[in-house]
Amino acid sequence: MRSRIRSLRLFAGAAAALSLAACGADGERPKTASSTPAKAGTPYPRDPYPSTYHTYPGVPTLVRNVTVFDGEGGRIDNGAVLFADGKIVAIGQTLDAPAGASVIDGQGKWITPGVIDIHSHLGDYPSPGIRALSDGNEATAPVTADVWAEHSVWPQDPGFGRALANGGVTTLQILPGSANLFGGRSVVLKNVYARTVQGMKFPGAGYGLKMACGENPKRVYGSKGREPSTRMGNIAVDRATWAKAQAYKRKWDKYERDGGDPPERDIGMDTLRGVLAGEIRVQNHCYRADEMANVLDMAKEFGYKVTAFHHAVEAYKIADLLKATGTCAAVWADWYGFKMESYDGIGANLALLEKAGVCAMIHSDDANGIQRLNQEVAKALASGRRAGVDIPDAVAWKWLSLNPAKALGIDDRTGSLKAGKMADVVLWNGNPFSVYTRPEKVWVDGALLYDANDPKRRPVSDFELGQPGEGDVK
């Protein structure tokens, strides 16, 4: 019941990813003699705060005699996983150890891809949750598409280390909160401590736009006596904003094509233009089935795509609609009944979505919950089985890694144990769907960043240094 802070944090939604594939590292578009008339206007930079993340050193590692969930639905009993130079080399029944490799006997243990949380506010609502560090909701106007979550992230949030050590989380998306209809841009991070947020940024991951529908925006702005104060007000402000974004896009597209005087920059509209151009993914906080349907119609009206609904407590009611529109659903296992729009939450939500063929995933929205997403999935599996929907454990691991990677647009690089992907790997000391299991080792890009048996492989954030409890197992 002492969860006042959490109720504020429930203003959270989702964010999307800007594909940088179309842009050079400096933000310039590829130029060729045929496609670029000499008089074309200069595009604004798409990546002005670039990632400086680098992989940490690792050693070639072979884990054998281990149960493997590959993250794509596959399972190998008494199998093996080999990774080197930061990448997965092979998985299989038996693999040979290269010279100099670290060989780990996985007897009685499980190995999986690292967990990806598509919905986190670590860094933006860090611990301690004091006012001075409350940087997750720019709750001053219903449209703040101009803010970027990365500019709030405090890289020293102790929550990052807990998510790594207790949760096996290797990648996470940080979203601005859901007080606003257009909350701003998300950022995708590798779960490593760094001095700057740039040092955590997942290289090449696109941006997201966090949107929210429902009770949070109408409560926040209704209480200020301004639009929106109702659900119809939410959609009205959304539509007016998308209409402006279309006009902004037309002006900038024309300028970049034909040159002339550059149009006035609008930082928020840059983001919406990115969505309309398919470069930025919409991650939409939305609980109720009927509201999700409204948003899907609005997306069709303005020509954008909703990549994923987050907190989609009623997704199970419209699994067919989500399937038909190719929209993902990011959900909790069992959160329900904390506000009206969560009243109809059921434990079988994820299982019913999977049964209907929807791209479904678990998410936390919580600094504590992110530490046990494997157990959250175990709860969802159990609820599904109770309802007669028996999803194999190995298939359910998709909810923890591959599906969130897809919804972030990084599934070609991480999210499963596939040769060539980043070696983001967790070794669990038992079946990860058992309550009695904990991560034993966690690698990010092949670097061993947590080892339960080695106190030196346990991050201590700057904030914790020299304070009560420093360096404890936590």
């Binding site: 002492r2 909790w332 904390f338 157990q375 175990a378």
Partner: protein, 432 residues
């Protein structure tokens, strides 16, 4: 849901007060008293009370026998210091009775008057094996939140097991805010309120307490007298080690206070002092982040380290967004960390006790609730596996010996949408 109520109402008429003798046989029996589970055991209950439980327990003639082969049987789980029953959803302000910022009353507030046994959450959480809850108000406008209650989650109209079971007070950061902005102000308010209560006892007619400006109303004074006299436990929410020490020191001035600590994220730093004071603690198992400056040393080892130092400790359900049902996941995690070098957890028996007899004992109710020992209320759950394991679910539930419906509003919703597409009529016509 309606049908479930009708069915159980019929059962009630046929079998008043669980008069039937029931024997759950051949199950793994977990007594909930801290002991290890017993294989191939039997639990017998009659007239709403446990008769016997364990190995080599005879099945009385004429008993209704429930075959527990391959299953586990445990006491029903007790959710400690929760707001279950005080709101339909926290965010539905119109239905939320957890706090009353605008009320002139504080310590006088009595949550037992708010409990609605027909609330959907009661039915949902019951189906997950929660059979009792220690329900506490939230402080709003004073450090004194009011008087909490012990309730059952039975499918009947009688929910309150013990009204006015404890007084709840905030003395950490939250208390400082309620008192005007500082911890010293909170302690000044606390001492003054108790002094005023003594004034009321000495001369009720002269006390007043009905004036608009009176800091303490008559009802508040009456409630606090029971606290001063040790007739009503005083549950104190604090987190920081130094705050815990200060609270333990209150007994020097008020020697009959029956203290219970809740929160206590830094309890492990002062575990020996808490144990020496014989003050029970109801703590959050998995609070491991420095969420505030009063919880910098928070760790999942807190409960285990306090227990190892001899503190009587139980788990709290506060902040369980997924429902009170998650207390068994919390308990299971405390077993899990016994395998992590440097961490301190609980053994299995202690872990189950921390969500059954532990919360009962914190309020002195262990003779009545929370275990399968003879004479206790027959709150019994039959599980399809280890009750601390995530995948396990109840297959039968009795509260005060009465069988409970195995459906809830959540199962009704689930079944309506097992297939999302509409049939010949809208979903509103899909009924079980």
């Amino acid at each position: 849901m309606i049908r479930a109520f009708l069915l159980s109402a019929a059962a009630l008429i046929a079998l008043p007060a669980g008069a039937q003798t029931v024997a759950v046989t051949d199950a793994t029996v977990a007594l909930g008293d801290g002991s290890a589970p017993i294989r191939n055991g039997t639990v017998v209950f009659r007239d709403g009370r446990i008769v016997s439980a364990g190995a080599n327990v005879a099945v009385p003639a004429g008993a209704e026998v429930v075959d527990g082969h391959g299953k586990w049987v445990s006491p029903g789980l007790i959710a400690g210091f929760t707001d279950l029953g005080l709101q339909d959803a926290g965010g539905i302000e119109e239905s939320n009775d957890t706090a009353a910022r605008g009320s002139p009353f504080a310590a006088a507030i009595d949550v037992s008057t708010a409990i609605n046994p027909a609330g959907a959450k009661i039915g949902n959480e019951r189906l997950a094996g929660i059979t009792r809850a220690l329900v506490a108000p939230d402080a709003g406008g004073s450090i004194f939140a009011g008087q909490g209650a012990v309730i059952d989650l039975g499918d009947d109209a009688d929910a309150v097991t013990r009204p006015r079971a404890f007084q709840y007070v905030e003395l950490g950061e939250h208390g400082a805010r309620e008192a005007g902005g500082s911890r010293p102000a909170a302690y000044a308010l606390f001492r003054d309120a108790l002094a005023q209560a003594q004034d009321y006892r000495g001369n009720p007619a002269a006390f007043g307490g009905r004036e608009r400006a009176s800091l303490l109303k008559r009802g508040d004074a009456e409630a606090l007298l029971k606290v001063i006299d040790g007739q009503m436990p005083l549950v104190v929410h604090v987190e920081r080690a130094s705050d815990i020490r200060t609270v333990l020191g209150l007994v020097r001035d008020y020697p009959r206070l029956k203290l219970v600590l809740t929160g206590a994220s830094e309890g492990w730093l002062v575990a020996r002092e808490i144990a020496a004071a014989k003050v029970p603690v109801v703590a959050a198992a998995l609070a491991d982040l420095p969420e505030s400056f009063e919880a910098l040393a928070a760790t999942e080892s807190n409960v285990g380290r306090m227990r190892a130092a001899g503190v009587q400790v139980a788990l709290s359900a506060a902040g369980a967004s997924g429902g009170e049902r998650n207390i068994r996941q919390y308990a299971g995690n405390l077993v899990a960390i016994t395998r992590i070098p440097g961490a301190t957890g609980l053994d299995w028996g202690q872990a189950l006790a921390s969500i059954t007899s532990g919360p009962a004992a914190a309020l002195g109710l262990e003779g009545e609730l929370g275990s399968l020992k003879p004479g206790r209320r027959a709150d019994v759950v039959l599980w399809d596996g280890d009750p601390l394991e995530i995948e396990s679910q109840p297959v039968a539930i009795w509260i005060d010996g009465r069988p409970q419906p195995m459906r809830s509003r959540q199962t009704e919703l689930r079944d309506r949408y097992l297939t999302p597409t509409e049939g010949v009529l809208p979903k509103a016509y899909d009924r079980r």
